[in-house]
């Protein structure tokens, strides 16, 4: 089968990250035009996640580091992710800064696409404190 112009990294990511259940994934008209199931969008979302504080706090590939693991989580809905990423979160003494205004709406939904895709990613070893009250 002849593939259209798609970067090899995107292909690799699409193979590594099987399609997630579509039950709670909003359509593009609810996500600033971003298709949360597009392999290209998911790859771009991983790039933003890894190179922003997400990479140091939540670990490369969302494996968890100083901040909770994002990988293999089935309790993070796109809407709750949007609220948390946009407005930040405080839990006791811990703080996640708000990204609204720093990331555009499209970029926020692009990152969400990556986190949702990580639901079924291969588990990885390592850090990631999972607070019982995340």
């Amino acid at each position: 089968m002849k593939l259209p112009f798609i970067r090899s990294s995107v292909i690799a990511l699409a193979i590594a990250l099987p399609c997630v259940a579509a039950d709670d994934i909003p359509p593009p008209d609810k996500t600033a035009g971003v298709d949360l199931q597009s392999p290209e969008v998911i790859a771009k979302g991983m790039e933003i996640l890894n190179t922003t504080c997400g990479g140091y706090c939540h670990g490369t590939g969302g494996g968890g580091l100083k901040a909770p693991r994002l990988r293999n989580r089935d309790d993070l809905s796109p809407d709750s992710l949007h609220a948390t990423i946009s407005f930040g979160r405080k839990r006791g003494g811990k703080v996640m800064p708000p990204w609204k205004g720093t990331l555009s709406e499209q970029e926020i939904w692009t990152v969400i696409a990556a986190i949702v895709a990580l639901r079924t990613a291969e588990p990885i070893a390592g850090g990631g404190a999972q607070s019982s009250n995340h």
Binding site: T51, T52, C53, G55, Y56, C57, G59, T60, G61, G64, L65, K66, A67, P68, G88, K90, G92, G93, K94, V95, P97, P98, W99, G101, T102, L103, E107, A125, G126, G127, G128, A129, Q130, S131, S132, N133
Partner: protein, 577 residues
Amino acid sequence: MSGVLDRRLLVAATLGAIASTAIAAGVPEIENAAPGDWPSYHRTYDAHRYSPLTGITKSNVKRLSVAWVHQAGEITQGLQVTPLVVDGVIYYTASYNRVFAVDGRTGEEIWHYFPKIKDGVDKLPVGPYSRGVTVANGRVYIGTIDGRAIALDMKTGKPVWETQLVDTLKCGCMFTSPPLAVKDKVIFGSTQGGIPARGGGIFGLSQSTGEKVWYFDPVLEGEEHWGMNDFGESSAKYAGVGAWHVGSYDPKLDMIYYGTSNPSPWFDWAAPTDGPDGHLRKTGIGARPGDNLYSSSVLALRPDTGELVWYHQEHPHDDWDYDSTLGEFVLIDRGDRKLMVHQAKSGFVYVYDRTNGKIENVWTINKHVTFVKSINPKTGELIGRNPPSISKDAMFCPSMLGGRSWNAGSYNPDMGVWFNSRQEICEIAKVRPERPSLDPLPGWYAGADLQWVHPPGDTAHGAIDAWDPLTGKKLWSVHDKYPRISGILSTKGGLVFSSDMKGYVYAYDGRSGTELWRFNTGSGSRGGIISYMAGGEQYILVPSGIGSAAQAITASIYPEVADFPAGASLFAFKVPR
């Protein structure tokens, strides 16, 4: 690598400085600190962090009880302060640079000052914590998380002047530690280290006007030691070197001692190679070939001008996030020898001749050390470097949390013993060779896949130890499952105080480490314990309120730490009459 200016210039400058010190006005609260005061971050310029009070003793400490509690009202990142006390009034900061003056006898607030922090700063990865203020000549000075230096009236808390020192939203740099008041200057050291932007450094301001008198840029001054990166750019562009913690001051030598942070990016994907004249080669591959001066260095500067007198780079081309700014500079005189004991983040302790930077000894507090095979105790040379790489998951100990964190130890000059915290945690890192980016904003650029892990053949743990600071001989040790991340206090009464991550504050017998008393404050401690007098009685003051990256990193090994309760309260204890 070390350096000393032309020795003739050094001698002339020193003699001149001694003469000028005799004339210049100083900071009487610090230079002639009353026994019942705690007027500076480490109490005195020599950073002993030791109280000469004897009212609380090994005999009566078991009766130590809560006298009062002051709540800071803002628990984000806990309470990381070492409070100050002058004439029975406590001056301390909480997160978001909230400053309080509190009556030391009753805990009643005298005044507070809550600066309006600029929008957008909350998006940055550093802050919003504050380690304290400094007091001098009727003023309270603070560096803020949005890059300002502010002076307040000590009696009223009203602002006197304000100076914008760094563009925080552009560089990601700010002030998280108190400045140091010296003569008529107040010295501020900014954050950086890991954020790939310039702008950090050391600033000397006028106490009376806030005018910036001098600025030491640790990268500009050493720019020739930063090579081109693999993207064809000067690596100095992303250098990100700051000096974020408090220094020390020797009034007789007229030198301030400051440490600088690690460089950026955190990890390099190419190991350094030896070059000419004892420096590392600055032509080559990688993120930042060369020594990367003056990152991870100890600097001796003139407080009036910021002139560099001598330096020693403890971690040339740092590969592990080991900066030299987090440890205090403990000044110790032994006979004719004017020494300085410095805890580096690597866990190694450097003993310097503080007149000229000559190394007298280097020893480590840690059981697990794999980032190097050893360090030459006479030259400080790193032997057998073990850097992370792109080709494998390399493990190194100690982790980027350090062999010890920035919470200071305490030196008891009567005993000649240094009480210090320690942590044994290792790290796995696999470097990603990426071009640093400041987009969308200046944040931590890790540049590696990281994990924190137990040491090989051991479990991660913490401790407090008693040491001979010059030889590294250990006298006693108290083990803890978790790192101890509070500042330690020792007293003339023979006691040592330390708090743990769960919320307990302990008093130990300084001679043996035997526990004599404990109290549960309800939240772990990240700040520094102090002692002071008010109303004729001795108090022990304990900041309670866990926070910081240390908690988060420990939680990745011991998940229960993530749920340790937060807080931000000052607990004052005394022995009831």
